[in-house]
């Protein structure tokens, strides 16, 4: 299997007001293979967002490097990489379709052509009829769909997701995750999914990195095989192997004393 993304010895620390330094990320090594769904799961304070910013190139690590298809990233954003956050980051003054084409437009594609391309996505994402609405007219789940469409339409090879479905209620989350899984498997995308939710990590992923906090470190790497071909989250959740994985991850996170003050 070929690695599309590899991180070697990532370290990151911040200066503290007292003059010292706090280590956020301690020597991270990880990778993602082509078409693989890889999750990072860990408690708050484990540096997930810092990690996210380093992978996207918005932050530079103190040491270590990120290889995208065996080439070191330069810090400039790569078109191979698209991201989706918890905040949907839609532009409120743009219609849904114009939000979807934002990336294409910025990359220089004429608006008409970009809209043509975007229009083909609306059926797949169950958003037909909402092309000309404004984000304020949509529900939270729909807005998240639009955010995913905006990323997918630029056809990145790797999709980076940071707590993308955290703010949604449970049934909606399940529905959107099922959609996500079938889209990324069908289009053969690599996904790096950052979450604090073990259940989410197990049901979606091919492989999970478990992180601990203070400093952020990878404590375990678990390959997931739920022994089902179904991409529907409820079915995957009911796999007899689910509890096993859940428990293993829970235990490796649970060995760390959790602080309530965070």
């Amino acid at each position: 299997m070929s690695k599309v993304l590899e991180a070697i010895g990532i370290r990151k620390s911040y200066a503290t007001p007292g003059g010292g330094r706090t280590t956020i990320l301690q020597d991270l090594h990880f990778h993602a293979n082509r078409n693989e769904f890889v999750s990072f799961v860990g408690p708050s304070g484990c540096g997930k967002s810092t990690l996210f910013n380093i992978i996207t190139g918005l932050l530079t690590p103190d040491s270590g490097s990120i290889l995208l298809k065996n080439r070191e990233t330069t810090g400039a954003p790569s078109p191979e990489l698209g991201y989706v956050l918890q905040k949907d980051l839609l532009f409120p003054w743009r219609t849904v379709i114009d939000n979807v084409i934002l990336g294409l437009e910025v990359q220089g594609m004429p608006k008409r052509e970009a809209r043509e391309r975007a229009r083909t996505l609306f059926e797949l994402y169950h958003m037909e009829g909402y092309e000309k609405k404004y984000p304020s007219q949509l529900s939270g789940g729909m807005r998240q769909r639009v955010a995913l469409m905006r990323t997918m339409v630029t056809q990145p090879e790797i999709i980076l997701m940071d707590e993308a479905y955290k703010a949604l209620d449970y049934p909606l989350k399940i529905a959107l995750e099922s959609e996500l899984l079938s889209v990324v498997k069908q289009q053969q995308k690599t996904v790096i999914f950052i979450t604090h939710d073990i259940e989410e990590a197990v049901t979606l992923s091919d492989r999970v990195y478990v992180m601990k906090a203070h400093p952020g470190e990878i404590v375990q790497e678990i390959a997931i095989d739920l022994e089902t071909d179904s991409l529907a989250i409820p079915e995957r959740r009911l796999s007899p192997r689910f509890n096993d994985y859940y428990e293993r991850i829970w235990r490796s996170i649970g060995t760390q004393p959790a602080s309530i003050n965070e």
Binding site: P77, G82, L89, F91, W93, L102, V106, Q107, S136
Partner: protein
Amino acid sequence: MAMNSVSSRETVAGSGRRGPRESFFRSLNARRYTLITLQVAIVALLLGGWEAGVRSGQINPFLFSSPSQVWQVLVDRFHSGEMLGDIKVTALETIIGFAVGAIGGSILGLLLWYSRFISDLAAPFIAAIGAIPVLAIAPITIIWFGTEMLSKVVIVAFSCVVVSLTTSYKGALRTDPDLINLLRSFNAGRGTIFIKLVVPSAMLWVLSGLRLNVGFALVGAIVGEYISSDSGVGHMILLGSSNFGMNIVLAGIVLVMLMMLCFNALVAFIERLILSWDKK
């Protein structure tokens, strides 16, 4: 004020559901009519009392004029064409000065987003210029730019520029950094970020600056006309007061009020046009 409260009630009513809440809206409407009725009654009472006071000799018409006399002045001036002439002059000064000062200032303020260095460099100068009262520089502008329209346009522009500049710059600075990062992830340059994100997202602040400045602009034009002029509504008021023509002064004030309401309505209309995405 009255108009504001009425329109905000309407939005509340419009977004609600029908059915069990209907009685609630009926009482809301009743409240609204009560308010309007009372407001009209207050105006009628004041004007009526004033008029009655003058007619019965309790109020000196030489000092305080009367509603009917003011109305007469307005009617006469309308028929003689003087009124439209004055309004045209003052409106033109206000609009051109506003376009240069408020819109120009807004554009400059947005552009300051481009360079932190230039904005830091300019900050004390902007504050200093903002600290100069329009009244203080008005006489100089007459000397520099003459007694014609140009000097008033300069005064109007001067009285708008700093507020527009600072509000729009603040608006530009408030651009959500996550949205900037999103555009960066698409490899957008600073110019693209400015056009596609900073300008539209600062539009709310730009427009609130413009709304504030409508008032300043009209005040600037009137002040300019007080200093030196041969026409305009300010000229009409000045001339009236120097001849103890209270009718004319008050008629002028009525005209200024009406103009202000029109300008405000115009800006509100433009605002609704630009922020059309903001409605649910």
